[in-house]
Structures are given as C-alpha cells and as structure tokens.
C-alpha cells in the first residue's frame, strides 16, 4: 500500500527538473538502504565476520601460522577436561532452565492469584535479581558461600547441620553455580509467564469451574495449552543464554574445583585468552554452535507461528 502512495507523490517530482542523483536519493529503496547501513555494518563486521573467522581460527595451530585442519578438534576429543566441560555445560543448562521454568511458572501463578492492586509491588520486588548486573550479584553469592564466613553455614549451624563447602566440593560447586543461575534467571520467566497468564481469557476458567475442574485440571487443560508458545520461546531463549553463560561461573568458581564447573565459555576464556592458545579457544567456543543453532531454529519457528495466529 505504501508503494502506491510513494509512486504517486514521487511522480510530480520526477516530472520537474531533477538530476538523476537527486532522484536516486529520493527513491524509497535508497533511503531505506542508507537507514539500514549502520545496522548492516555492525552485524557484518562485528558479528558475522568474527563468527566465520572463528571457524578459520579453529583450524590453525597455536602460533596461528600453520593450518592443522581438524587437529584442534582431535586434540580436544582426547582430553578428559573437554568431556567434563561438555557434561557440565549440558547439566548446567538443562537443570537451570528446567528449574527456572518451574519456579518462574509457580511464582507467576501466585502473583496472578492475588488482587491486581498488589501485583505491581510484588512483581517489582521479584524482578530485582534480573536487574542487578550478574557479575555484581554473583559477588554477593560468593560472599554468602565464603568458606570461612559463609552466612548460610551460620544459619545451618543453628539447625545443627555441618558446614557445607559451597564452592570447594565438586558436587556443591555445581549445585551453587546452578542455584545462582536459577536465582538470576527465574524472574525473567516469571515476567514472561505472568504476561502470558494475563492473556488467557477468564471465561475459560469460569466455564471449567462450573464443570467442576480442580486447580490442577485448570492448569493442565487450560493454562498450559494456552501458554504453550510463550513457554517454549522463553525456555529456548533461556537455554541459549544459559548454555553460553560466562559471568556467573567465572566469578563464583572460576571453573574450579579441578575444572569441574567450567562451561564452554569459561573454558574457552581460560584456554584462549589466559593460556594464549587462541585457535584452541575458538575451537572450544564453536562447540556451542550446534545447540544454539537448534534452539534458534525452534524459536524462529515458534515466533513465525505466533505471527500467523495473531
């Protein structure tokens, strides 16, 4: 429709004495191209180019002068730490996303349940973890987990539980990084689900109440199906962010103890930047691509579906 109007308004101008350059500058596509040019520059030079460049980097040797093909990948497959990182990354991302989704859904439900006057206040309080920069809030957790002055252990001591070595023991360290990630991410799920809950028509619940449905049946047969799209988009989106997480693990454990909490991102940093083996680091970070690609494809499909429904 816009096309019609532009040719109409454009015609008289063309009839007048205008140079071809001016005409070109007045054409819609030229203006549009100029408007998107900065965006294209950012995307191509700082995102697309580095992404493909890391593919090239991954095939070089440590001093980046010799092509080694898949040599870096072979080397990684032979290292025990690598498989530890694969295991921990998957465990971390899957567990954290599941718990974030469950907690987010539960909290959203409780917020939705109370009179709407108080909802804003509660929602505001519950979103605070998402607002604080994760590197800084993780410092607070690091202090709460401190080996000698842990405030949690102080509380535990009062109920007679022996002090827990939160970041020193492999299992507890894994638990701690996941816990902090849940703490940071659950509010995001809560907000998304709350928005989705509000869009479920109230009549459906009234009808089910008359039919004698209990609260569980209402959730299972009405709420969840109505929110399916938002649930999957939020979970997939969070899967990407969690899988690629860096800040929390870096600040809380630095990958320790004994590399047991390293994720792809933190290990890539350790190998690529701190140990100076850039190709191997690039190689490690490339292992994030398959999961990201799958999640991104699914998100695009869901968002497309959503567009058709509306």
């Amino acid at each position: 429709m816009a096309d019609v109007t532009i040719t109409r308004t454009g015609l008289p101008a063309e009839a007048g004495q205008v140079s071809s350059l001016q005409r070109l500058m007045r054409r819609k596509s030229t203006i549009a191209f100029i408007m998107t040019l900065p965006l294209l520059l950012v995307i191509f030079t700082l995102v697309a180019y580095p992404a493909f460049y890391s593919l090239h980097l991954a095939t070089l040797n440590k001093s980046m002068v010799r092509f080694v093909g898949l040599g870096n990948f072979e080397f990684l497959f032979g290292r025990e730490t690598f498989w530890l990182v694969v295991y921990q990354s998957c465990l971390f991302a899957v567990t954290a996303v599941i718990f974030k989704a469950i907690i987010g859904f539960t909290v959203a439900h409780f917020v939705h349940n109370i009179p709407s006057k108080g909802q804003r206040k509660w929602r505001g309080m519950l979103l605070v973890p998402w607002v604080i920069p994760p590197a800084m809030s993780t410092l607070a957790w690091l202090w709460l987990f401190d080996p000698s002055y842990s405030a949690f252990n102080w509380l535990l001591a009062h109920v007679g539980v022996a002090p827990v070595s939160w970041t020193g023991n492999t299992h507890w360290a894994r638990f701690s990084v996941i816990l902090v990630n849940i703490w940071v991410g659950a509010p995001f799920f809560m907000i998304m689900y709350l928005a989705a809950l509000k869009s479920v028509p109230e009549q459906l619940y009234e009808a089910s109440e008359i039919d004698g449905a209990n609260w569980w049946q209402r959730i299972w047969y009405i709420t969840l199906p109505m929110m399916r799209n938002i649930i999957s988009i939020t979970a997939l989106f969070s899967l990407i962010v969690t899988f690629a997480n860096f800040d929390i693990v870096r600040v809380l454990t630095g990958g320790g103890p004994l590399d047991s909490t390293h994720l792809f991102a933190t290990w890539a940093f350790r190998v690529g930047i701190e140990s100076g083996d850039i190709p191997l680091g690039a190689c490690v970070s490339l292992f994030m691509v398959p999961i990201l690609a799958v999640a991104a494809t699914l998100i695009l499909r869901d968002i497309g579906k959503r567009g058709n429904e509306a």
Binding site: F33, V42, L46, A48, I114, M192, F237
Partner: protein, 303 residues
C-alpha cells in the same frame, strides 16, 4: 503490608464467587505465604550486600550473627568514593554506557523504521537476520574479536586493546540487534493510515519518522533505551578480555580485579562497590519499571 492487601482483597472475592469464597481465601493466603518465601530468596543477596557494606572489617571477621549489623558505619562508602580508582571505573562505565546507548538507539530506530515500513528487497530476510544476530552470544565472538584487534593494530597502528573506548565499538553488537527487533515490533503496530496520511500530505520519509513514528512509539524507545543501558552497564566478558590497566576498566571488571587482592578479600568494600555498581540499573528500574517490563516481554511477544 500483605495483610492489608489481604483484608481488602477478601470481600470482593467473597462477593464474586459466593460459596467457594472459603477456598479462595485459603488460596490467597497460600499465595501470599509462598510469595513471601520467594521474595526472601530473590532479595536475600542484595540485602546481604547492603548489610555487609555497613560493617567494619573487624565485625565481618567476628563470630557474631552475620545477618545483623551491630556497629553500622559508612566507612566503606566513604573510602570507596574518595578513592580515585573506583571513581575512574564509575566514570568509564558511565561514559561507555551513555555513548553506547546513544549510538545503538540512533542505529536501531532508523533501521527498524526502514525494515518495518519501507519494504525493500531483502527486508524481511534482514529482519530475521537481526533476530538471529541477537541470539548469537558474546561468548562465541570474544576470541575471534581478540585476534581481530591484533589484526587492526598490525594494519592501521590503532591500538584497540586495553582502551575503555574499545567497548563503545563492541557493545553495540549486544544492544543494536535487540533494540532494532523490538523497535520493528513497535513500529509495525502503528496503523498504516497514519503514515500514509503523512505521505499524501507531502511529508518526506524522515519527517514521517520524526513527526509520527518516534512520538507514537516513544514507550518502545524508552524500553529499548533502558535495555541498551542495562546491557552495556552489566557487560563483563568483553572488558575482562580486552582491558587490563586499572585506569581503563569498567565497573564490573574493576571491582573484581582490584578489590580482590590475591587471597585477601576485603568483603566490606567489595559489597559496597558491587552495590553502588548495581545502583544505576536499579534506580532506573525503580522509576521506569513498566517500560522495563514492556521491553522484556516485547522480545517474544512482538514482531
């Protein structure tokens, strides 16, 4: 507070649902109970930060109740705010964030307008591309970027490494795609008749953008601005990888690398520094919560 809300909330519920009022009341009490539990979980770390920031080093290492301040003092705040290094971190962070927000909003508003309204060859593909770019995490890009900086230095002699302004070049990769994406959503929701009327009246595309789209989509612009600010203020990986000298660091990295000296953790100051560092996004959030939440949900619900 919760009790008063409960008391006022109960009668309306009773009126509305008649016989099942009792069930409702219990559901409400349960909701408040669990919400309180979750609120404690969610707010505990920042509150503990605040508690620790008011303590002296002696009290922190004492065997007293860590959840209470016995001798509150502002010494940590005073010491930190009179220290040059912390103020430099704060200045660097503020400069980077403000400039990055300005750049990203300029880029994304123009691009989103072109993508949402001026259909041209490849515009839908590009819109999808923008969204995909948003899904690429910075953890995938920092290593090739590290190498690219060395390449730029060899080619042009410009040293990008260890300069705070390098962040101004890098951060837009994190903010621009999402800002553009949500602005496309906001612009697309503006009725076509509005800009058609303007075009018929002889407005140029730029006039349509500045006189109609920007004023109408102002809530979206505020939401995108808040997002860009929060992201650039919180970014940790890029400054950690690309800056090292004390005078070039931004807040998150600065606190972690300078206040932690070897194995000695000065927790009072670390918590004060982290709390002050978290303050700008928190203050913005406190005043513009609705815009903040609109921006959060827009990513998946619009476009």
């Amino acid at each position: 507070m919760a009790d008063t809300a409960l008391a006022t909330g109960a009668p309306t519920r009773a009126l509305k649902y008649g016989s099942i009022a009792k069930d409702r009341r219990w559901a409400l009490r349960l909701s408040y109970f669990f919400l309180t539990l979750f609120a404690i979980f969610f707010l505990m770390p920042p509150i503990y930060m605040f508690i620790t920031s008011l303590k002296t080093s002696a009290e922190i290492s004492a065997e007293t109740n860590p959840w209470w301040v016995f001798n509150p003092t502002l010494a940590n705040y005073i010491e930190l705010l009179t220290q040059d290094t912390y103020l430099i971190f704060f200045r660097n962070s503020a400069m980077v964030s403000v400039i990055v927000v300005t750049i990203s909003m300029l880029i994304s508003v123009f691009a989103a307008f072109a993508l949402a309204r001026m259909r041209f060859w490849g515009s839908t593909l590009l819109a999808t591309g923008v969204f995909l770019t948003y899904l690429i995490p910075e953890t995938l890009l920092f290593i090739p970027l590290f190498k690219m900086m060395a390449m730029v230095r060899d080619a042009t002699g410009i040293e990008l490494m260890n300069n705070w302004w390098t962040m101004i070049i890098l951060y837009p990769t994190l903010t621009v795609p999402f800002c553009t994406w949500i602005m496309i959503g906001y612009f697309a929701s503006i009725p076509k008749e509005l800009d058609e009327a303007a075009l018929i009246d002889g407005a140029t595309w730029i006039q349509t953008l500045t006189k109609i789209f920007i004023p109408v989509a102002l809530p979206g612009i505020i939401a995108a601005t808040i997002f860009a600010f929060t992201v650039s203020w919180a970014q940790f990986l890029y400054p950690l990888a690309f800056t090292t000298s004390t005078d070039q660091l931004v807040l998150p990295v600065g606190i972690i690398t300078t206040l932690i000296k070897g194995d000695v953790f000065n927790w009072g100051q670390i918590m004060t520094g982290a709390l002050l560092g978290a303050a700008p996004p928190l203050i913005i959030y406190a005043f513009l919560m609705d815009y903040y939440i609109a921006g959060l949900t827009a990513g998946a619900t619009k476009g």
